[in-house]
Symmetry: D2
Subunit: 233 residues, 4 copies
């Protein structure tokens, strides 16, 4: 069954998360446009698709669409004197239902990851923690986020899907993560661009994919999204 | 003369900047409410008052009011692969006209300050760079921001205004900053709560004040704001 | 059997690691004196005791004694242009046989921990990675260091041994770490001061203890050390 | 007049500082060998030459030679619980007479620079603070180190001396630094390899040079050093 503005962690079905990074094509009005495009494909396909946007764009994207919106990062702080940091409560009030943490472009200390997960879960927000290899996916799983997203850094932004280039990494990540904490779901990313990459990811045991440039920098975003969801429906 | 949504750096008159930090009283809807209260006092008094809010609140505050809005921090990045960082272009598109940098709660390397100023000025955004003492105010002045805000860390959040506790620091900061770069304006902060603190700050040669808890945590925010502007009008 | 200048990771018997932090009592000549004192107790008791010293003291301590010497931190760099960072090869050439990593006073990103372990193991150096709770101990174990040292930060530097205050944390850490990687040994620390604390640590399943102020700041360092080893012999 | 083991900041004559970075050619025994080579040329030429080495090598280099030895970095900490950081007192006791700070490979916050200078000066150690351009050299000068070393990052490690590629940057840095604090001496670096580069640096108003690969990675280190000192004698 399909819910609008649901929390991804409560879904039984595979998910697709589109991370817009700080791409020009995913900033400000263009983030809102992309979110509307995602909303259309999501409504048509009933595939659960979320967007992870910059903190400055959470509010506008959440008020323009009904899709799940993720922050790209939160700091493990509470209300108080923390000028310049990203407060989980503020991210939630702006409308986000979850957050990425420890993206390879924003690495965190183990303590920051653990406390970031704790703060997000206190606020009933979803957590997707990134990891660059199987060992790190296992390490992250021990901290009990909702999702671990495994993305080999050498494949990020490239043309070959991790599911084709390193399927054994994805399969091992799923197996090892489940041994540590069966409740943690696994996503994979890096080079994912097509429905067949998504299908392969699911065959390898994941609960979906995390991707960025494949959609955000595509000329025909809607076409790409429609192709991606074919890997699930 | 009084402009709505002006850039503070283009004003000849003293300014007041309210930094909401990540206080509960300055997050989300409460940031918007506070901004509206500031707008009212600003319109009535014709004193230039700005607010510095969390990145998640810039959009809503800018769309609900007509006052100058500052970010609390930007990262010196450009469009691209920078998941989890704060893009100057995104801050600007959300509606901010300037940014704080190097707040004592968010210290930056000298290189990050220099590049942050450069990026903000490229986008025609105002820069307020914080410094904890006279030497650091001089150092910051050499990097040519629009404003240096001197805030002795030991007085931040306290009950005694820097203008009373350490007037010589404020006066020296003004003198030394002007020697290095006469175009850089000086603000002072820490413990500022009343119109007489603002008046004293201006007598000491500053172009205004940067304050936080004195307004944000006050029960009667409008009353405090009305009292503060009396130091200028 | 007892080896001089051995690698702790090759021992079957429990170990004691004394971290001198940057205490005055553990800097320069005093680090050398403390190391000699440790050497004496180590030789007499045949208990394996190592010292973790500041980078500037590794060379002198290694040339004055025959005990295993640990660095307190290494950066995961290689030979090259890294002015101001701590090169694993330099630490090894100065005489260290291992390193601490991720001490609560020097937290690292998960990637830095993984790469630091990799670099140390390339150089056949021992790794002791610190963790503040059971989840983090599990996470660290997934990265396969030789030792995980669990030290609840709230007990560090205090008077009550973790083995008395939170024995269940120590026991759980041992169980969970072994499930993830049975080859990883577990140390515990925080508040350890007496032989009975060491004995209790071993009863709880650890391979020894990591301690600091209990020895380094003691008036009678030799007396404390002699008492500690009684927990093992 | 020529002093052995002097503090560079007390010299009236130009100085040369060789930074070995973490080059293989400047680590461990090779650092000691290079220091001996420097000592020989220094004794013969009476030109003041210092070496900046890794923390692990300070002790051995200081005990094998009589030249001034610099750390590459210190942390602005005091005796205490700072596992894994670099204590100024430890650096001094190991034998260093000064430290580099804020090298482009180890950037520091403005507060860390200010406090690092303060800590070094408390211990009567020399400070050489690096800056990448004229603005940053001015900013650093406001913090009153003994030396500012200007090194345009784009020329570091290259074949063209900053004195040839950007003489105006060197000249401006000298002028602007002296305006802010006439007591601060200026060094320049990047691409410096020959005596004529050193001579030109001095003609431009500097008090000497900071260089790395030009000596450390040279096949004939003594030959290069002898050539460099010709720029001064």
């Amino acid at each position: 069954m399909f819910y609008s503005k649901c929390r991804l962690s409560s879904m039984d079905t595979p998910v697709i998360i589109i991370n817009v990074k700080t791409y020009e094509e995913g900033t400000g009005k263009k983030a809102v446009e992309l979110a509307k495009c995602i909303e259309k494909v999501r409504n048509e396909s009933k595939v659960e698709i979320a967007i992870a946007v910059q903190p400055t764009d959470i509010y506008a994207v959440c008020h323009a669409t009904n899709i799940p919106v993720f922050a790209q990062h939160i700091d493990a702080i509470k209300y108080g004197s923390h000028t310049g940091w990203i407060l989980p409560e503020a991210v939630k009030e702006a409308g986000a239902t979850g957050t990425l943490l420890n993206h390879s472009e924003r690495p965190l200390s183990m303590d920051e990851i653990a406390k970031g997960i704790e703060r997000a879960h206190e606020l009933k927000m979803d957590t997707v923690v990134c990891a660059g290899n199987v060992d790190m996916a296992m390490a992250v799983a021990a901290l009990s986020p909702h999702f671990v997203a495994i993305e080999p850094p050498e494949l990020i932004g490239g043309d070959i899907s991790v599911t084709k280039a390193k399927p054994e990494i994805v399969r091992n990540a799923v197996n090892e993560v489940k041994k540590i904490n069966a409740a943690v779901k696994v996503l994979c990313g890096a080079g994912v661009k097509k429905g067949e990459d998504v299908r392969k990811a699911i065959e390898l045991g994941t609960d979906g994919v995390l991707l960025a440039s494949g959609v955000v920098k595509a000329r025909d975003k809607e076409g790409i999204l429609k192709n991606l969801v074919k890997g699930i429906i």
